[in-house]
């Protein structure tokens, strides 16, 4: 008979072994978070981690989160750019952790761009 702590220990030990089975894909979707001083101070790290969590929790394959430097629109940070293969790039501005989750649910999973967070020509 195991205790709850035992189960947790098994989980951690096994996760290190099976992480190899998470698949790599050449044809992947990329979410790029602006991570320069401006982005970081506006909360880019929380956005980055929220995106990673949401993708991991939903077990989405072929989706990666990466980082980029300053995009020159510091007042619009945190900025997330979404590259889906075969589609135009979408730029989301002033993203926070909650918006990040919605972007994953709506744009990445269901394929609906979240227009209200998109950059405009103002």
């Amino acid at each position: 008979m195991k205790t709850i702590a035992d189960i947790m220990a098994i989980k951690e030990k096994m996760q290190r072994e099976i992480i190899l089975r998470d698949n790599l894909s050449e044809n992947e979707t990329r979410l790029v978070v602006g991570m320069a001083t401006c982005g970081i101070s506006a909360g880019a790290r929380a956005v980055f981690n929220a995106l990673v969590d949401e993708i991991a929790v939903r077990n989405l394959k072929g989706v990666k989160v990466t980082r980029s430097g300053c995009l020159g629109m510091c007042k619009l940070e945190p900025i997330v750019e979404v590259y889906v293969p075969g589609q135009e790039k979408i730029t989301y501005i002033r993203v926070d952790a909650e918006k990040a989750k919605k972007i994953i649910a709506s744009h990445i999973v269901n394929g609906n761009v979240v227009e209200e967070y998109m950059i405009t020509n103002e």
Partner: protein
């Protein structure tokens, strides 16, 4: 730590193609090269792409090898494992493009799916509880037992909008609430794994590929409604599924996740497996419970519903496998996560068993609201030989067909019902222009006539009479007014049968008559089967293209073909049994049917 993992599919499809021998060969080949400490060989559940079986996936590259044989194993070990080169020849090829696909995740088949229920199938070793735990297994149970009250669990299920995946689509949370609220000390949690629809095998796949998910969900359900005993009713025709369930239960007991005082929290829950003998009616809930009790599997009247008076007369929660398997993830990720997938009234995903005239025969899981076109063309890889889509049958013998005019309909419970079909348990049989819809209706009706338990007259006698009328259509002996009589009989059976089997049995007939009345009329008025399927209305003829090679005459099993060498042969229509062997073997396409 292993540097590479070789996953060999051990689902029923690949198993019957000798995947067990492939696995053994891998182990032997690795051992011979002293690589058995570096490379792990794992048997998994079904990957879903059964048409490509036996399949093997090698990580970390994720290389997806299909149609493997025992002889290919040495090649994969030498090339891929030793030298690090992919074996191009064995990589899976997408039928549309013929380009070799490197990784499983790059196939359209996998890319367009959202895997919730099937998330672990083909990923973990179902006979190793530790691997299930690694993928968040039993975390939901820990959360429920240590942090939540039973009512909170029920509330989460209600909020998720989950509906029964077995057919009817009843809100699962409500069912849990009714069973929880029913008075009584002794209650039961029951699983319907009696998957009887021809062509449906998603529950089998889950049981084979991720049995612990079901066990975890059952314990959670037991906690939520106040039950301490569960039953899994599974058909004896699923030996691998039964075996893996038994192994899973033993491991769960050893870990204290099942049995007395689960994880030291004081909650008791135990599970027993009951084998069904394969009667279709035992998938009906009241018949299923009667069968578990040890009686002849016959349905009874409802109400009382199982939530009030079920197994052994006690309040019973009965859901199907797919419904339960959603539960742990809903608990862990929250109802909002679940409701973010699907349509307004149908949340989450649905697993379909794709079969019939489709390139990628197998299991697919899609968010509710995906269109039929996406399922068939993107995931299913289209229809073989460039034929045209005619219809898809969903819901098996209880459902109906979706015609080409509804190709773009978003698939969910309510849309399917509005066009006269139903979700059912998830069989999806694709038909092309070569299928005769009258014949399809007869196939399903023939099945229900066979499977009717005989307890009530509308089903026992009604479906039999309906089948006789349908057979007359197929033999070209019917009159037009017979169609009206058939329709009347259909509604009579639907309204008067005792259980779901009878109430839905006429659906394939009604649905094909609704969308393909012209085919019925062609059989009756012109004595012609437009698709060229119904034998009674067909004749085979030899045209002038015949070179007199005599192959057909030699092949004909009844000696109906005569002729001299290098002269045109003739078929004696009075002897011909219309088996089509002559046509299949003619090298000059000189034999036609009309």
């Amino acid at each position: 730590m292993f540097r590479s993992h070789i996953l060999v599919c051990g689902g029923t499809g690949c198993h019957s193609n000798d995947s067990a021998a492939i696995r053994e060969k891998f182990e032997a080949a690795l051992k011979a090269r002293k690589l058995d400490k570096d490379v792990q060989v794992v048997t998994t559940g079904c990957f879903g792409l059964c048409a490509a079986g036996p399949v093997v996936v090698v990580y970390p590259e994720g290389a997806f090898y299909s149609g493997m044989t025992v002889d290919d194993v040495e090649t994969v070990v030498d090339e891929h494992i030793v030298k690090g080169r992919l074996v191009e020849r064995l990589l899976y090829k997408e039928k549309a493009s013929h380009a070799a696909i490197k990784a499983l995740s790059d196939t359209n088949f996998i890319k367009k799916q959202t895997r919730v229920v099937l998330r672990n199938c083909g990923v973990i070793n179902p006979e190793n509880i530790d691997e299930y735990i690694a993928y968040d297994g039993y975390q939901a149970l820990i959360k429920v037992l240590t942090e939540m009250q039973p009512q909170e669990v029920v509330d989460i299920v209600k909020k998720s909008g989950l509906r029964g995946r077995g057919g009817g689509g009843f809100p699962t949370g409500l069912k849990w609430q009714f069973t929880k609220d029913a008075p009584g000390d002794v209650k039961y949690v029951c699983v319907n794994a009696d998957e009887g629809d021809p062509g449906a095998f998603m529950d089998r796949s889950v049981l084979e590929g991720d049995p612990h998910a079901l066990l975890e969900a059952m314990v959670i359900a037991g906690f939520a409604i106040g039950a301490h005993q569960g039953y899994i009713y599974v058909r004896a025709e699923y030996p691998i599924a039964v075996q893996r369930c038994k192994i899973a239960m033993e491991q769960a007991k050893e870990y204290g996740l099942l049995g007395k005082n689960i994880l030291g929290t004081g909650f008791d829950f135990d599970i027993e497996i009951r084998l069904g003998a394969g009667a279709f009616v035992c998938g009906e809930e009241t018949a299923l419970m009667t069968s578990i009790e040890g009686n002849r599997g016959e349905p009874r009247n409802r109400p009382p519903f199982p939530a009030v008076k079920g197994l052994f007369g006690k309040p019973t929660l009965l859901n199907n496998v797919e419904t339960y398997v959603n539960i742990p993830q809903i608990i862990l990720k929250g109802p909002q996560w679940f409701t973010s997938m699907g349509t307004e009234k149908s949340k989450g995903t649905k697993v379909f068993a794709l079969g019939g005239k489709i390139n990628n025969t197998g299991l697919v899981e899609i968010p509710m609201g995906t269109t039929l076109r996406e399922v068939i063309e993107d995931i299913g890889g289209g229809i073989p030989n460039g034929k045209k889509f005619k219809a898809a049958q969903t819901g098996g013998p209880s459902g109906g067909c979706i015609p080409a005019s509804e190709y773009d309909i978003p698939i969910d419970y309510d849309n399917l019902i509005s066009i006269g079909s139903m979700m059912g348990s998830g069989g999806m049989i694709v038909m092309d222009e070569d299928n005769c819809m009258v014949d399809i209706a007869r196939f399903f009706l023939d099945f229900t006539v066979d499977e009717s338990c005989g307890k009530c007259t509308p089903c026992r006698v009604g479906t039999k009479r309906l089948l006789e009328m349908l057979t007359r259509v197929i033999e070209g002996k019917a009159e037009l007014e017979d169609l009206d009589k058939m329709e009347e009989l259909c509604y009579y059976i639907k309204n008067n049968a005792l259980c779901g089997l009878g109430q839905t049995a006429p659906n394939p007939v009604l649905s094909t008559m609704r969308y393909f009345r012209d085919e019925y009329e062609a059989h009756i008025k012109e004595k012609r089967c437009p698709a060229g399927v119904c034998k009674a209305l067909l004749s085979y003829f030899i045209t002038e293209a015949c070179k007199g090679c005599t192959v057909c005459a030699k092949k004909c099993p009844v000696g109906a073909i005569t002729g001299v060498v290098k002269g045109q042969h003739v078929i004696d229509q009075s002897k011909c049994i219309k088996c089509g062997v002559c046509m299949d073997n003619c090298k000059f396409a000189a034999i036609i049917k009309k």
